[in-house]
């Protein structure tokens, strides 16, 4: 229950206020966590060519709530939390590495 409360709080933290100073963005911590996990995980594995174990540690960020799924066959990494946030990055080619979608 405490974990759920934390996640809801983090999700709500992303309400943007474009007139605030400094500007705030419509990101929740959870969205940033999954974006970081997917992009950095994909690049670690398919651009730097490091092991899955290394890459799981490489992408760890606070809050450490992103669950990573490495799809080696399709060169794709998905990061998700158990509430709604999900991000996917996939390897494009040898010049452009991974792109976050």
């Amino acid at each position: 229950m405490k974990r759920l409360l934390l996640l809801v709080t983090l999700a709500l933290a992303g309400c943007a206020d474009p007139d605030a100073h400094p500007r705030t963005f419509a990101n929740s911590d959870l969205q940033l966590a999954v974006g970081n996990g997917a992009r950095m995980g994909c690049s670690c594995m398919f651009v730097m060519n490091m092991s899955e174990g290394y890459c799981r540690e490489w992408v760890k960020a606070s809050p450490d709530v992103a669950k990573l799924t490495f799809d080696v066959a399709n060169k794709r990494v998905e990061a998700s939390t158990f509430v709604s946030w999900t991000a996917t990055a996939h390897f494009v080619d040898e010049k452009h590495g991974c792109v976050l979608r």
Binding site: A13, M50, G97
Partner: protein, 375 residues
């Protein structure tokens, strides 16, 4: 404008037409680097390695200095190389903000080819922003952290909701980073602020790409630069719209990053061919007008064209950041301790890649140990 900046501007104004003679150099990495490991310096090497290759923490722990690779090029030859933590000479490594120095060089190549001028408005190359406030920004503003945009460069220890860079890389700005950058409001008029910004560098790389595409076609960075200097495996990531993440997400092996440093060590020439226009390296390694006018001692380092400099800037009461190494040292520097260090007076390039999550590698402390090895 200070005297050195005026001289550099004058050189650039005439540099495109005047092809200066490149520095004499017999040794070039034709393909890979020639190797001649340093000998008879066991004590100096031990001291360097006890500093750079710390054994603190677990393999994946986040305490202490985590060097993943260290390459030293002295007099054009690879004299020292070591990797750790699962990396080898074949692994590309994330550059983080070392990418900014690469992006400014790409702007220089576009200037050499007459595809842009540093004083151009960015809108001359990004026509979709014509008529917006962004048109007050010049290309030179973008490579000297002087766009005036109210950019917040906070990372993992900062405020996630106000961090411009985290939003651009991982959040709502990641789908169209150019729009994310150019919809920031201004905190100063362009040219009237020095503020370190991944957004400024990413803007510069976007402009460079658009300009270079006119001559080199799609993926212009490779024929314009990387293929020329043998950075065969370099990766430049981009967003879904094809805008390069030129402020942070370039990947290359340490040996390849060393080639980029070697280009700057040789005044922008490669094997007798001028790659960067005359005066570009001098401008890159001279404190920018924006830094001299608006930098403060609290700012990280004096910077030129997105290179960090060891020289003091007395006008701003900024001391030398690297007191124990030659004053002509300049460096590309990135988060978690990524470094390309160039020391012209020592004919030296040092590349260090790492994963310092606690406190980044200190350039001065690393370089003074390397100098003990090569001198």
């Amino acid at each position: 404008m200070n005297g050195r900046a005026l001289l550099v501007s004058s050189l650039l104004a005439t540099g495109a037409a005047a092809q200066s003679v490149c520095p004499a150099r017999d040794v070039w990495p034709d393909g890979d680097w020639q190797q001649q490991p340093v000998t008879g310096k066991d004590a100096a090497i031990a001291e360097l390695e006890s500093y750079a290759f710390t054994l603190e923490g677990e393999l994946y722990g986040r305490k202490g200095l985590h060097t993943n690779g260290l390459v030293v090029i002295h007099r054009g030859v690879l004299v020292y190389e070591r990797y750790a933590r699962g990396f080898s000479a074949d692994n590309r490594h994330l550059s983080w903000s070392v990418a900014k120095s690469v992006s400014s060089a790409l702007v220089g190549i576009a200037a050499r080819d007459g595809l842009l001028h540093p004083d151009d408005s960015v809108c001359a190359h990004l026509p979709e922003y014509e008529g917006t406030e962004a048109c007050g920004i010049t290309v030179k503003h973008a490579i000297t952290f002087a766009t005036g945009l109210d950019w917040v460069e906070d990372y993992e220890n900062g405020n996630y909701q106000t961090s411009s860079v985290l939003s651009m890389l991982f959040g709502v700005g990641s789908g169209d980073q150019l729009r994310h950058i150019l919809t920031h409001r201004f905190s100063a008029r362009p040219g009237q602020q020095w503020r370190y910004s991944t957004g400024d560098a990413a803007l510069a790389s976007a402009v460079a790409k658009r300009a270079l595409e006119k001559k080199y076609g799609a993926d212009p960075f490779w024929p314009a630069l990387f293929d020329v200097i043998g950075m065969r495996d370099v990766v430049v990531e981009q967003d879904v719209k094809g805008t390069p993440l030129g402020g942070s997400c370039v990947y290359a092996t340490p040996r390849e990053f060393a080639k980029f440093g070697y280009l700057f060590l040789n005044d922008g020439c490669w094997n007798g061919t001028r790659v960067l226009p005359e005066g570009w390296v001098a401008a890159s390694t001279t404190p920018s007008e924006a830094f001299v006018d608006f930098g403060t001692a609290a700012d990280q380092y004096p910077s030129g064209y997105s290179w960090w400099l060891g020289v003091p800037v007395p006008e701003r009461q900024v001391p030398s950041r690297w007191p124990d190494v030659p004053a002509d040292t300049f460096a590309a520097q990135g988060h978690w301790g990524q470094r390309i260090i160039v020391v012209p007076s020592e004919d030296l390039v040092v590349v260090r890649v790492g994963d310092d999550r606690e406190e980044p590698m200190n350039t001065n402390d690393l370089l003074k140990r390397v100098l003990e090895v090569v001198r």
